[in-house]
Amino acid sequence: MKSENNHAPGGSAEHVVTDARLAAAQKRLAESQGQEDAIDGLREIVANLLGSEELGLFRLDRRTETFQVFWSFGIDLEEYDLLRALGDAGLQSVMRGECHVERTNGGRSGETAKAQAFVPIRVANQTVAILAILRLLPQKMAFDGSDMELFKLLSHQAARPLFGRSAESHKVTEGPGIEV
């Protein structure tokens, strides 16, 4: 299993693609009408722009200092162990605000997951939730530089539409067993 953190986007031809995707994602989040629509927007962005239909959103519970499943699509996350999937290094990365990408062969038998991404959802320099993108569509081979730009956009702009004002009061200094 190989892991990496986010990196810079590619050249100018790719940049046009990136701009169109970023503009669409930014507009979709900004125009969300309430939490349900924002969640729908997040699902659409991941499915249409990133190429995954198995994803989950974990929110940090301030009282228990644990990540709880907030919402999922295409996969049952009741038994999913986020912290194990992330590992110590991955967890520290997302708590610092860096996207964490895993290249892996895990998942359903006979299938190749290829890559998973864990995107910190941030408010005021704090990670308040983690978007887990768990399986790519068959035709999508890997995440690329333009995907990393989209991850950054989600990281910085998704909290408000998803969690409303509660996101702004959801500041923590530590997470579950986390020392950042």
Binding site: V16, V17, D19, R21, A24, R28, N48, G51, L137, Q139
Partner: protein, 123 residues
Amino acid sequence: MSKKILVVDDSKTALMMEREILERRTPYQCVTASDGREAVEKALQEHPDLVLMDVVMPNMNGFEACKMMRQQAGTREIPIVLVTTRGEESYMEAGFQSGCNDYITKPIDSAELVAMLQSYLGE
């Protein structure tokens, strides 16, 4: 007069993305619909030069809308490109049987989309 593309998708994000690509990278005019039924109506009203249409949609899916357009004189000759999250051969075969001219898979690669549109509509 610029050529017109009818973009059909129930996802607001997909519509925004496809509109962004068309506006930034092509001279084509863009009109939109959010399901297959609306697409058939808009195709009859707007006489687009090409239809770019998602498959999985409420009310009427892309395959059904494609078949319906092929049955009507006013829309029979319009090139239809289906957009799908599934790239399997059997799925594509169903698309061609419904009467589509081509297909493209999500996530859309903008260069691939622009090249495909240009192959049907010219520069």
